[in-house]
Amino acid sequence: MKIVMAVIKPFKLDEVRDALTSIGVQGLTVTEVKGYGRQKGHTEIYRGAEYAVSFLPKIKIEVAVDTKQVDKVIGAITGAAKTGQIGDGKIFVFNLENAVRIRTGETDTAAL
Protein backbone atom coordinates (compact mmCIF):
# COMPACT_ATOMS: atom_id res chain seq x y z
CA MET A 1 0.00 0.00 0.00
CA LYS A 2 0.99 3.59 -0.42
CA ILE A 3 0.08 6.87 1.17
CA VAL A 4 -0.48 9.63 -1.34
CA MET A 5 -0.04 13.02 0.27
CA ALA A 6 -1.04 16.08 -1.74
CA VAL A 7 -0.76 19.77 -0.97
CA ILE A 8 -3.37 21.73 -2.91
CA LYS A 9 -5.12 25.08 -3.07
CA PRO A 10 -7.92 25.27 -0.50
CA PHE A 11 -10.80 25.99 -2.84
CA LYS A 12 -9.95 22.85 -4.85
CA LEU A 13 -10.71 20.49 -1.98
CA ASP A 14 -14.25 19.57 -2.99
CA GLU A 15 -13.29 18.92 -6.61
CA VAL A 16 -10.41 16.70 -5.55
CA ARG A 17 -12.57 14.74 -3.12
CA ASP A 18 -15.15 14.13 -5.83
CA ALA A 19 -12.47 13.03 -8.29
CA LEU A 20 -11.13 10.56 -5.74
CA THR A 21 -14.46 9.09 -4.72
CA SER A 22 -15.34 8.73 -8.38
CA ILE A 23 -12.36 6.39 -8.77
CA GLY A 24 -13.40 4.41 -5.74
CA VAL A 25 -11.35 5.92 -2.94
CA GLN A 26 -13.41 5.45 0.20
CA GLY A 27 -11.75 7.77 2.60
CA LEU A 28 -9.18 10.47 3.09
CA THR A 29 -7.82 12.75 5.76
CA VAL A 30 -7.53 16.48 5.31
CA THR A 31 -5.31 18.96 7.16
CA GLU A 32 -5.21 22.74 6.95
CA VAL A 33 -1.59 23.70 6.40
CA LYS A 34 0.42 26.70 5.37
CA GLY A 35 2.70 26.50 2.39
CA TYR A 36 5.89 28.21 1.42
CA GLY A 37 7.20 27.92 -2.10
CA ARG A 38 7.61 29.59 -5.43
CA GLN A 39 4.21 31.20 -5.19
CA LYS A 40 4.94 34.46 -3.42
CA GLY A 41 2.74 35.47 -0.51
CA HIS A 42 0.88 38.70 0.04
CA THR A 43 1.35 41.71 2.29
CA GLU A 44 -1.00 42.67 5.04
CA ILE A 45 -1.31 46.36 5.71
CA TYR A 46 -1.82 47.75 9.18
CA ARG A 47 -1.80 51.51 9.52
CA GLY A 48 1.84 52.35 8.94
CA ALA A 49 3.25 48.87 8.77
CA GLU A 50 3.25 46.26 6.03
CA TYR A 51 3.63 42.62 6.98
CA ALA A 52 4.89 40.18 4.39
CA VAL A 53 2.92 36.98 4.75
CA SER A 54 5.13 34.39 3.09
CA PHE A 55 3.05 31.36 4.11
CA LEU A 56 -0.08 30.71 2.12
CA PRO A 57 -3.07 28.67 3.21
CA LYS A 58 -3.04 25.23 1.61
CA ILE A 59 -4.86 21.97 2.15
CA LYS A 60 -3.01 18.72 2.73
CA ILE A 61 -4.75 15.52 1.71
CA GLU A 62 -3.61 12.07 2.82
CA VAL A 63 -5.01 9.02 1.10
CA ALA A 64 -3.99 5.44 1.82
CA VAL A 65 -4.46 3.30 -1.26
CA ASP A 66 -3.59 -0.04 -2.68
CA THR A 67 -0.31 0.13 -4.60
CA LYS A 68 -1.87 -0.59 -7.95
CA GLN A 69 -4.25 2.32 -7.52
CA VAL A 70 -1.54 4.91 -6.99
CA ASP A 71 -1.29 6.18 -10.53
CA LYS A 72 -5.05 6.49 -10.86
CA VAL A 73 -5.08 8.50 -7.66
CA ILE A 74 -2.25 10.78 -8.74
CA GLY A 75 -4.05 11.33 -12.02
CA ALA A 76 -7.31 12.15 -10.30
CA ILE A 77 -5.69 14.65 -7.94
CA THR A 78 -3.64 16.30 -10.64
CA GLY A 79 -6.66 16.59 -12.87
CA ALA A 80 -8.87 18.12 -10.22
CA ALA A 81 -6.36 20.38 -8.44
CA LYS A 82 -4.70 21.93 -11.45
CA THR A 83 -5.29 25.57 -12.31
CA GLY A 84 -2.05 25.95 -14.23
CA GLN A 85 -0.94 28.76 -11.98
CA ILE A 86 2.02 28.71 -9.68
CA GLY A 87 1.10 27.36 -6.26
CA ASP A 88 -1.07 24.51 -7.42
CA GLY A 89 0.86 22.24 -5.13
CA LYS A 90 2.58 18.89 -4.94
CA ILE A 91 1.83 15.23 -4.63
CA PHE A 92 4.11 13.01 -2.54
CA VAL A 93 4.02 9.23 -2.39
CA PHE A 94 5.26 7.12 0.54
CA ASN A 95 5.31 3.46 1.23
CA LEU A 96 2.68 2.29 3.73
CA GLU A 97 3.69 -0.82 5.62
CA ASN A 98 0.51 -1.56 7.43
CA ALA A 99 -2.98 -0.23 8.00
CA VAL A 100 -5.53 -1.09 10.68
CA ARG A 101 -9.21 -0.26 10.98
CA ILE A 102 -9.70 0.51 14.63
CA ARG A 103 -13.36 -0.46 14.66
CA THR A 104 -12.85 -3.97 13.31
CA GLY A 105 -9.16 -4.66 13.63
CA GLU A 106 -9.03 -5.46 9.93
CA THR A 107 -5.57 -4.85 8.49
CA ASP A 108 -3.89 -4.03 5.17
CA THR A 109 -6.07 -3.09 2.23
CA ALA A 110 -9.08 -4.47 4.02
CA ALA A 111 -8.70 -1.59 6.46
CA LEU A 112 -8.92 1.14 3.86
Partner: protein, 480 residues
Protein backbone atom coordinates in the same frame (compact mmCIF):
# COMPACT_ATOMS: atom_id res chain seq x y z
CA UNK B 1 -4.98 46.19 -9.73
CA UNK B 2 -3.40 48.29 -7.02
CA UNK B 3 -3.07 51.02 -9.61
CA UNK B 4 -6.67 50.75 -10.72
CA UNK B 5 -7.69 50.76 -7.08
CA UNK B 6 -5.77 53.86 -6.13
CA UNK B 7 -6.99 55.73 -9.18
CA UNK B 8 -10.48 54.75 -8.17
CA UNK B 9 -9.72 56.00 -4.72
CA UNK B 10 -8.38 59.16 -6.33
CA UNK B 11 -11.71 59.63 -8.02
CA UNK B 12 -13.47 59.41 -4.67
CA UNK B 13 -10.99 61.74 -3.09
CA UNK B 14 -11.72 64.32 -5.78
CA UNK B 15 -15.50 64.14 -5.48
CA UNK B 16 -15.06 64.13 -1.74
CA UNK B 17 -12.70 67.10 -1.73
CA UNK B 18 -15.00 69.25 -3.81
CA UNK B 19 -17.91 68.36 -1.55
CA UNK B 20 -15.95 69.39 1.49
CA UNK B 21 -14.93 72.74 0.03
CA UNK B 22 -18.51 73.48 -0.92
CA UNK B 23 -19.49 72.52 2.60
CA UNK B 24 -16.92 74.77 4.17
CA UNK B 25 -17.81 77.77 2.02
CA UNK B 26 -21.57 77.46 2.08
CA UNK B 27 -22.27 76.15 5.52
CA UNK B 28 -19.64 78.05 7.40
CA UNK B 29 -20.47 81.44 6.03
CA UNK B 30 -24.11 80.95 6.75
CA UNK B 31 -23.31 79.61 10.16
CA UNK B 32 -21.90 82.76 11.48
CA UNK B 33 -23.16 85.25 8.98
CA UNK B 34 -26.61 84.84 10.46
CA UNK B 35 -25.48 84.60 14.00
CA UNK B 36 -24.67 88.19 15.02
CA UNK B 37 -28.25 89.30 14.49
CA UNK B 38 -29.14 86.82 17.15
CA UNK B 39 -26.54 87.69 19.73
CA UNK B 40 -28.89 88.82 22.46
CA UNK B 41 -31.05 85.72 22.23
CA UNK B 42 -28.00 83.51 22.58
CA UNK B 43 -27.84 83.21 26.34
CA UNK B 44 -31.43 82.20 27.00
CA UNK B 45 -31.36 79.73 24.13
CA UNK B 46 -28.56 77.69 25.69
CA UNK B 47 -26.94 78.52 28.93
CA UNK B 48 -23.51 77.45 27.63
CA UNK B 49 -22.66 75.21 30.56
CA UNK B 50 -19.98 72.77 29.49
CA UNK B 51 -18.01 71.23 32.37
CA UNK B 52 -15.47 74.08 32.24
CA UNK B 53 -17.93 76.89 31.60
CA UNK B 54 -19.33 78.17 34.83
CA UNK B 55 -21.05 81.41 33.92
CA UNK B 56 -23.60 80.78 36.61
CA UNK B 57 -20.91 81.02 39.20
CA UNK B 58 -18.22 83.68 39.03
CA UNK B 59 -16.79 82.87 42.44
CA UNK B 60 -16.07 79.18 43.01
CA UNK B 61 -15.55 79.65 46.74
CA UNK B 62 -19.07 80.90 47.27
CA UNK B 63 -20.43 78.06 45.14
CA UNK B 64 -19.58 75.47 47.76
CA UNK B 65 -22.80 76.35 49.46
CA UNK B 66 -24.80 76.57 46.29
CA UNK B 67 -27.93 74.46 46.30
CA UNK B 68 -28.41 72.03 43.45
CA UNK B 69 -31.88 71.85 41.97
CA UNK B 70 -31.80 68.86 39.65
CA UNK B 71 -33.65 68.94 36.38
CA UNK B 72 -34.97 65.46 35.66
CA UNK B 73 -34.34 65.72 31.92
CA UNK B 74 -30.76 66.89 32.31
CA UNK B 75 -30.23 64.22 34.94
CA UNK B 76 -31.69 61.52 32.70
CA UNK B 77 -29.30 62.46 29.91
CA UNK B 78 -26.30 62.58 32.23
CA UNK B 79 -27.12 59.21 33.79
CA UNK B 80 -27.26 57.86 30.25
CA UNK B 81 -23.99 59.55 29.37
CA UNK B 82 -22.26 57.81 32.27
CA UNK B 83 -23.33 54.45 30.88
CA UNK B 84 -22.25 55.46 27.37
CA UNK B 85 -18.80 56.66 28.41
CA UNK B 86 -18.16 53.62 30.59
CA UNK B 87 -19.08 51.50 27.58
CA UNK B 88 -16.33 53.28 25.67
CA UNK B 89 -13.67 51.77 27.91
CA UNK B 90 -15.28 48.40 28.63
CA UNK B 91 -15.81 46.80 26.25
CA UNK B 92 -15.18 49.48 23.58
CA UNK B 93 -11.55 50.41 23.96
CA UNK B 94 -10.60 46.96 25.15
CA UNK B 95 -11.89 45.42 21.92
CA UNK B 96 -10.53 48.18 19.71
CA UNK B 97 -7.05 47.36 21.02
CA UNK B 98 -7.61 43.61 21.34
CA UNK B 99 -8.23 43.25 17.64
CA UNK B 100 -4.89 44.85 16.82
CA UNK B 101 -2.61 42.73 19.00
CA UNK B 102 -1.50 39.19 18.32
CA UNK B 103 -3.84 36.43 19.46
CA UNK B 104 -1.42 35.44 22.21
CA UNK B 105 -1.86 38.81 23.95
CA UNK B 106 -5.55 39.46 23.46
CA UNK B 107 -6.51 38.48 27.00
CA UNK B 108 -3.93 40.73 28.61
CA UNK B 109 -5.11 43.57 26.40
CA UNK B 110 -8.76 43.36 27.38
CA UNK B 111 -7.87 42.72 30.99
CA UNK B 112 -5.83 45.92 31.05
CA UNK B 113 -8.92 47.96 30.12
CA UNK B 114 -10.96 46.14 32.72
CA UNK B 115 -8.42 46.37 35.53
CA UNK B 116 -7.76 50.04 34.80
CA UNK B 117 -11.49 50.67 35.07
CA UNK B 118 -11.57 49.08 38.52
CA UNK B 119 -8.36 50.63 39.81
CA UNK B 120 -9.11 54.16 38.65
CA UNK B 121 -12.66 53.99 40.00
CA UNK B 122 -11.24 53.31 43.46
CA UNK B 123 -8.52 55.94 43.25
CA UNK B 124 -10.93 58.47 41.84
CA UNK B 125 -13.35 57.96 44.69
CA UNK B 126 -10.53 58.18 47.20
CA UNK B 127 -8.81 61.32 46.00
CA UNK B 128 -8.79 62.16 42.28
CA UNK B 129 -12.30 63.57 42.16
CA UNK B 130 -11.62 65.89 45.04
CA UNK B 131 -8.25 67.03 43.72
CA UNK B 132 -9.65 67.70 40.27
CA UNK B 133 -13.07 69.17 40.84
CA UNK B 134 -13.22 70.90 44.20
CA UNK B 135 -11.94 74.44 44.56
CA UNK B 136 -8.39 74.74 45.85
CA UNK B 137 -5.54 76.52 44.17
CA UNK B 138 -5.10 77.29 40.48
CA UNK B 139 -2.90 74.19 40.34
CA UNK B 140 -4.74 71.57 42.33
CA UNK B 141 -8.14 71.18 43.95
CA UNK B 142 -8.90 70.62 47.62
CA UNK B 143 -9.53 67.50 49.67
CA UNK B 144 -13.04 68.38 50.80
CA UNK B 145 -14.41 65.46 48.78
CA UNK B 146 -11.65 62.96 49.56
CA UNK B 147 -13.27 59.54 50.01
CA UNK B 148 -16.36 61.20 48.55
CA UNK B 149 -17.11 62.46 52.03
CA UNK B 150 -20.15 64.63 52.30
CA UNK B 151 -21.70 63.49 49.02
CA UNK B 152 -24.29 61.35 50.72
CA UNK B 153 -25.16 63.76 53.48
CA UNK B 154 -25.41 66.59 50.98
CA UNK B 155 -27.94 64.54 49.15
CA UNK B 156 -29.92 64.07 52.30
CA UNK B 157 -29.75 67.76 52.95
CA UNK B 158 -30.51 68.54 49.38
CA UNK B 159 -27.30 70.53 49.17
CA UNK B 160 -25.85 69.86 45.78
CA UNK B 161 -22.56 70.17 44.03
CA UNK B 162 -19.67 71.88 45.80
CA UNK B 163 -18.91 73.99 42.78
CA UNK B 164 -20.92 75.61 40.07
CA UNK B 165 -19.94 73.25 37.31
CA UNK B 166 -23.20 71.40 37.11
CA UNK B 167 -26.09 73.03 38.82
CA UNK B 168 -28.98 71.15 37.23
CA UNK B 169 -27.92 67.59 38.10
CA UNK B 170 -27.05 65.88 41.39
CA UNK B 171 -23.36 65.94 42.27
CA UNK B 172 -23.43 62.13 42.42
CA UNK B 173 -24.24 62.05 38.72
CA UNK B 174 -21.64 64.67 37.87
CA UNK B 175 -18.93 62.77 39.72
CA UNK B 176 -19.87 59.52 37.97
CA UNK B 177 -19.71 61.28 34.63
CA UNK B 178 -16.27 62.73 35.36
CA UNK B 179 -15.19 59.35 36.71
CA UNK B 180 -15.72 57.75 33.34
CA UNK B 181 -13.36 60.33 31.84
CA UNK B 182 -10.76 59.61 34.50
CA UNK B 183 -11.10 55.92 33.62
CA UNK B 184 -10.75 56.07 29.85
CA UNK B 185 -7.77 58.42 29.84
CA UNK B 186 -5.24 56.02 31.39
CA UNK B 187 -6.90 53.11 29.59
CA UNK B 188 -5.97 54.80 26.31
CA UNK B 189 -2.29 54.69 27.26
CA UNK B 190 -2.43 50.90 27.00
CA UNK B 191 -2.21 51.27 23.25
CA UNK B 192 1.40 52.29 23.61
CA UNK B 193 2.67 49.63 26.01
CA UNK B 194 0.61 46.74 24.66
CA UNK B 195 2.10 43.25 24.29
CA UNK B 196 5.11 43.70 26.55
CA UNK B 197 4.40 45.52 29.82
CA UNK B 198 4.20 43.67 33.13
CA UNK B 199 0.66 43.59 34.44
CA UNK B 200 1.81 44.60 37.92
CA UNK B 201 3.95 47.46 36.64
CA UNK B 202 1.00 48.61 34.59
CA UNK B 203 -1.19 48.79 37.68
CA UNK B 204 1.34 50.83 39.63
CA UNK B 205 1.94 53.24 36.75
CA UNK B 206 -1.73 53.81 36.01
CA UNK B 207 -2.61 54.20 39.65
CA UNK B 208 0.04 56.84 40.32
CA UNK B 209 -0.53 58.57 37.00
CA UNK B 210 -4.25 58.97 37.78
CA UNK B 211 -3.32 60.95 40.89
CA UNK B 212 -0.18 62.82 39.87
CA UNK B 213 -0.95 63.63 36.24
CA UNK B 214 -4.64 63.34 35.51
CA UNK B 215 -5.98 65.08 38.61
CA UNK B 216 -3.94 68.28 38.35
CA UNK B 217 -4.36 68.64 34.59
CA UNK B 218 -8.12 68.14 34.86
CA UNK B 219 -8.09 70.82 37.56
CA UNK B 220 -6.06 73.27 35.48
CA UNK B 221 -8.40 73.00 32.50
CA UNK B 222 -11.79 72.27 34.06
CA UNK B 223 -11.52 73.17 37.72
CA UNK B 224 -13.57 76.18 38.77
CA UNK B 225 -10.30 77.85 39.75
CA UNK B 226 -7.87 76.15 37.37
CA UNK B 227 -5.26 78.51 35.99
CA UNK B 228 -6.19 77.82 32.37
CA UNK B 229 -9.85 77.02 32.94
CA UNK B 230 -12.34 78.56 30.59
CA UNK B 231 -14.75 78.60 33.49
CA UNK B 232 -12.46 80.52 35.82
CA UNK B 233 -12.88 84.27 35.57
CA UNK B 234 -9.43 84.73 37.15
CA UNK B 235 -7.71 82.26 34.83
CA UNK B 236 -4.28 83.36 33.60
CA UNK B 237 -5.41 82.35 30.12
CA UNK B 238 -8.47 80.44 29.00
CA UNK B 239 -8.12 77.20 27.07
CA UNK B 240 -11.10 75.87 25.15
CA UNK B 241 -11.46 72.15 25.79
CA UNK B 242 -15.09 71.20 25.71
CA UNK B 243 -14.87 67.46 26.34
CA UNK B 244 -11.24 66.65 26.86
CA UNK B 245 -9.00 67.00 23.81
CA UNK B 246 -6.21 68.24 26.05
CA UNK B 247 -7.11 66.67 29.39
CA UNK B 248 -7.88 63.26 27.94
CA UNK B 249 -6.29 62.72 24.54
CA UNK B 250 -3.10 64.78 24.40
CA UNK B 251 -2.58 63.71 27.97
CA UNK B 252 -2.94 60.00 27.23
CA UNK B 253 -1.01 60.24 23.98
CA UNK B 254 2.04 61.86 25.55
CA UNK B 255 2.07 59.42 28.48
CA UNK B 256 1.83 56.65 25.92
CA UNK B 257 4.83 57.95 24.07
CA UNK B 258 6.84 57.94 27.28
CA UNK B 259 5.78 54.34 27.98
CA UNK B 260 6.80 53.26 24.49
CA UNK B 261 10.18 54.97 24.90
CA UNK B 262 10.88 53.40 28.28
CA UNK B 263 9.69 49.94 27.31
CA UNK B 264 11.44 49.74 23.97
CA UNK B 265 10.43 47.82 20.87
CA UNK B 266 8.53 44.53 20.94
CA UNK B 267 10.60 41.44 20.17
CA UNK B 268 8.33 40.32 17.38
CA UNK B 269 5.45 42.01 15.62
CA UNK B 270 2.62 40.79 13.51
CA UNK B 271 -0.52 42.04 11.82
CA UNK B 272 -3.70 42.64 13.85
CA UNK B 273 -5.18 39.23 14.60
CA UNK B 274 -8.87 40.07 14.37
CA UNK B 275 -10.24 43.23 12.77
CA UNK B 276 -13.78 42.25 13.74
CA UNK B 277 -12.93 42.94 17.37
CA UNK B 278 -11.48 46.29 16.31
CA UNK B 279 -14.66 47.03 14.40
CA UNK B 280 -16.82 46.31 17.43
CA UNK B 281 -14.55 48.43 19.58
CA UNK B 282 -14.48 51.38 17.22
CA UNK B 283 -18.25 51.22 16.81
CA UNK B 284 -18.89 51.23 20.54
CA UNK B 285 -16.38 54.04 20.96
CA UNK B 286 -18.30 56.05 18.38
CA UNK B 287 -21.67 55.36 20.00
CA UNK B 288 -20.33 55.99 23.49
CA UNK B 289 -18.64 59.18 22.40
CA UNK B 290 -22.08 60.80 22.13
CA UNK B 291 -22.12 60.59 25.92
CA UNK B 292 -18.58 61.92 26.00
CA UNK B 293 -19.17 65.01 23.86
CA UNK B 294 -22.91 65.68 24.00
CA UNK B 295 -22.80 64.68 27.65
CA UNK B 296 -20.21 67.37 28.28
CA UNK B 297 -22.97 69.92 27.84
CA UNK B 298 -24.17 68.60 31.23
CA UNK B 299 -27.67 69.48 30.08
CA UNK B 300 -30.11 67.98 27.60
CA UNK B 301 -30.55 71.01 25.39
CA UNK B 302 -29.41 72.71 22.23
CA UNK B 303 -25.73 72.56 23.03
CA UNK B 304 -25.89 68.79 23.58
CA UNK B 305 -27.71 68.38 20.29
CA UNK B 306 -25.20 70.48 18.40
CA UNK B 307 -22.29 68.68 20.04
CA UNK B 308 -23.80 65.41 18.87
CA UNK B 309 -24.25 66.73 15.34
CA UNK B 310 -20.67 67.96 14.94
CA UNK B 311 -19.33 64.78 16.54
CA UNK B 312 -21.15 62.65 14.00
CA UNK B 313 -19.98 64.77 11.07
CA UNK B 314 -16.33 65.06 12.09
CA UNK B 315 -16.10 61.34 12.80
CA UNK B 316 -17.60 60.27 9.51
CA UNK B 317 -15.45 62.71 7.56
CA UNK B 318 -12.27 61.68 9.35
CA UNK B 319 -12.91 57.97 8.89
CA UNK B 320 -13.69 58.46 5.24
CA UNK B 321 -10.64 60.70 4.69
CA UNK B 322 -8.31 58.20 6.34
CA UNK B 323 -9.77 55.44 4.21
CA UNK B 324 -9.31 57.41 1.01
CA UNK B 325 -5.73 58.41 1.81
CA UNK B 326 -4.86 54.82 2.70
CA UNK B 327 -6.58 53.61 -0.44
CA UNK B 328 -4.68 56.04 -2.62
CA UNK B 329 -1.32 55.48 -0.92
CA UNK B 330 -1.43 51.71 -0.35
CA UNK B 331 -4.01 50.59 -2.85
CA UNK B 332 -6.38 49.07 -0.31
CA UNK B 333 -8.93 50.47 2.14
CA UNK B 334 -8.65 48.52 5.39
CA UNK B 335 -11.01 47.85 8.27
CA UNK B 336 -8.32 48.85 10.75
CA UNK B 337 -7.82 52.03 8.73
CA UNK B 338 -11.38 53.27 8.61
CA UNK B 339 -11.83 52.40 12.28
CA UNK B 340 -8.67 54.30 13.19
CA UNK B 341 -9.88 57.25 11.14
CA UNK B 342 -13.16 57.30 13.03
CA UNK B 343 -11.33 57.36 16.35
CA UNK B 344 -9.05 60.11 15.05
CA UNK B 345 -12.10 62.18 14.16
CA UNK B 346 -13.71 61.56 17.52
CA UNK B 347 -10.53 62.65 19.25
CA UNK B 348 -10.15 65.81 17.22
CA UNK B 349 -13.74 66.98 17.56
CA UNK B 350 -13.74 66.40 21.31
CA UNK B 351 -12.35 69.77 22.41
CA UNK B 352 -14.34 71.57 19.71
CA UNK B 353 -17.71 69.90 20.09
CA UNK B 354 -19.29 72.69 22.13
CA UNK B 355 -17.72 75.56 20.25
CA UNK B 356 -17.89 74.91 16.48
CA UNK B 357 -20.56 74.32 13.85
CA UNK B 358 -21.05 71.74 11.09
CA UNK B 359 -18.56 73.41 8.75
CA UNK B 360 -15.88 73.55 11.41
CA UNK B 361 -16.61 69.91 12.22
CA UNK B 362 -16.12 68.98 8.61
CA UNK B 363 -12.78 70.78 8.40
CA UNK B 364 -11.65 69.20 11.66
CA UNK B 365 -12.67 65.81 10.32
CA UNK B 366 -10.59 66.12 7.17
CA UNK B 367 -7.59 67.38 9.12
CA UNK B 368 -7.87 64.61 11.69
CA UNK B 369 -8.17 61.86 9.10
CA UNK B 370 -5.21 63.04 7.05
CA UNK B 371 -2.89 64.16 9.84
CA UNK B 372 -3.48 61.15 12.09
CA UNK B 373 -2.81 58.89 9.13
CA UNK B 374 0.48 60.72 8.85
CA UNK B 375 0.87 60.37 12.59
CA UNK B 376 0.85 56.58 12.40
CA UNK B 377 3.02 56.42 9.28
CA UNK B 378 5.41 59.27 8.50
CA UNK B 379 5.63 60.74 11.98
CA UNK B 380 5.85 57.29 13.56
CA UNK B 381 8.81 56.43 11.36
CA UNK B 382 10.44 59.75 12.25
CA UNK B 383 10.07 59.18 15.99
CA UNK B 384 11.13 55.58 15.56
CA UNK B 385 9.44 54.46 18.76
CA UNK B 386 7.34 51.28 18.98
CA UNK B 387 4.07 52.90 20.00
CA UNK B 388 2.37 49.55 19.50
CA UNK B 389 -1.20 50.61 18.74
CA UNK B 390 -0.49 54.27 17.96
CA UNK B 391 -1.66 55.89 21.14
CA UNK B 392 0.48 58.93 20.36
CA UNK B 393 -0.11 58.96 16.62
CA UNK B 394 -3.87 59.01 17.03
CA UNK B 395 -4.62 60.55 20.42
CA UNK B 396 -1.83 63.09 20.86
CA UNK B 397 -1.80 64.11 17.20
CA UNK B 398 -5.59 64.11 16.97
CA UNK B 399 -5.87 65.96 20.27
CA UNK B 400 -3.45 68.66 19.13
CA UNK B 401 -5.18 69.03 15.78
CA UNK B 402 -8.48 69.39 17.60
CA UNK B 403 -7.20 71.84 20.20
CA UNK B 404 -5.70 74.09 17.53
CA UNK B 405 -8.68 73.96 15.18
CA UNK B 406 -11.01 74.70 18.06
CA UNK B 407 -9.13 77.96 18.30
CA UNK B 408 -9.67 78.44 14.59
CA UNK B 409 -13.33 77.56 14.17
CA UNK B 410 -14.85 78.56 17.52
CA UNK B 411 -17.95 80.69 16.99
CA UNK B 412 -18.65 83.34 19.59
CA UNK B 413 -22.40 83.45 19.09
CA UNK B 414 -22.56 79.78 19.88
CA UNK B 415 -19.95 78.72 22.39
CA UNK B 416 -19.15 82.11 23.85
CA UNK B 417 -15.63 82.47 22.46
CA UNK B 418 -14.53 83.64 19.01
CA UNK B 419 -11.84 81.78 17.09
CA UNK B 420 -9.28 82.78 14.53
CA UNK B 421 -11.81 82.78 11.72
CA UNK B 422 -13.83 85.30 13.63
CA UNK B 423 -10.75 87.44 13.99
CA UNK B 424 -9.57 86.40 17.43
CA UNK B 425 -5.97 85.14 17.04
CA UNK B 426 -5.43 85.50 20.78
CA UNK B 427 -7.37 82.29 21.39
CA UNK B 428 -4.86 80.41 19.26
CA UNK B 429 -2.10 81.48 21.62
CA UNK B 430 -4.11 80.21 24.57
CA UNK B 431 -4.66 76.89 22.86
CA UNK B 432 -0.96 76.54 22.06
CA UNK B 433 0.04 77.44 25.62
CA UNK B 434 -2.36 74.86 26.95
CA UNK B 435 -1.00 72.15 24.68
CA UNK B 436 2.62 72.90 25.50
CA UNK B 437 2.17 73.05 29.26
CA UNK B 438 0.19 69.81 29.40
CA UNK B 439 2.61 68.10 27.04
CA UNK B 440 5.67 69.04 29.08
CA UNK B 441 4.25 68.37 32.55
CA UNK B 442 2.79 65.05 31.49
CA UNK B 443 5.97 63.94 29.73
CA UNK B 444 8.19 64.74 32.70
CA UNK B 445 6.05 63.22 35.44
CA UNK B 446 5.24 60.11 33.38
CA UNK B 447 8.91 59.60 32.66
CA UNK B 448 9.83 59.86 36.34
CA UNK B 449 7.10 57.42 37.33
CA UNK B 450 8.18 54.92 34.70
CA UNK B 451 11.84 55.11 35.72
CA UNK B 452 10.99 54.56 39.37
CA UNK B 453 8.72 51.60 38.66
CA UNK B 454 11.29 50.14 36.30
CA UNK B 455 13.91 50.39 39.02
CA UNK B 456 11.69 48.82 41.67
CA UNK B 457 9.81 45.99 39.96
CA UNK B 458 10.73 46.32 36.31
CA UNK B 459 8.44 47.51 33.51
CA UNK B 460 8.86 44.80 30.95
CA UNK B 461 8.17 41.07 30.85
CA UNK B 462 10.98 38.64 30.05
CA UNK B 463 11.67 37.76 26.42
CA UNK B 464 10.36 34.27 27.06
CA UNK B 465 7.06 35.57 28.42
CA UNK B 466 6.79 37.96 25.51
CA UNK B 467 7.39 35.16 23.03
CA UNK B 468 5.04 32.75 24.71
CA UNK B 469 2.39 35.44 24.95
CA UNK B 470 1.18 37.44 27.93
CA UNK B 471 -2.11 35.58 28.12
CA UNK B 472 -0.60 32.26 29.03
CA UNK B 473 2.40 33.53 30.93
CA UNK B 474 0.80 36.27 33.02
CA UNK B 475 -2.81 35.15 33.23
CA UNK B 476 -2.72 31.41 32.63
CA UNK B 477 -5.40 31.66 29.96
CA UNK B 478 -5.58 31.26 26.20
CA UNK B 479 -8.23 31.99 23.61
CA UNK B 480 -9.11 28.77 21.79
Amino acid sequence: MTLKKSSRAGLFALAFGILMCLFLSVAHDVAYAQAPAAAPAAAPATPPAPPPACASDPDPKKAVLEKCTPNSGDTAWMLTSVALVLMMTIPGLGLFYAGMVRKKNVGDTVMTSFAVTCLVTIIYAVITYSLAFTPGSPFIGGTSRAFLQGILSDISTGIGTPNGLAVTIPESVYLCFQMTFAIITPALIAGAFAERMKFSAMLWFIGLWAILVYAPIAHWVWGSDGFMSNGNSDAWFKVLDFAGGTVVHINAGVAGLMCAICLGKRKDMGPPHNMVLTFIGASLLWVGWFGFNAGSAVTAGMQAGMAMTVTQIATAVAAFSWMLVEWAVRGKPTVIGICSGAVAGLVAITPASGFVGPAGAMAIGVAAGVLCYWGVTGLKRMIGVDDALDCFGVHAVGGIVGALLTGVFAIEQYGGTAGLMEGNPAQMINQVQGIVIVFVYDAIVSLILLKIIDAVIGLRVSDEVEREGLDLALHGEVVQ
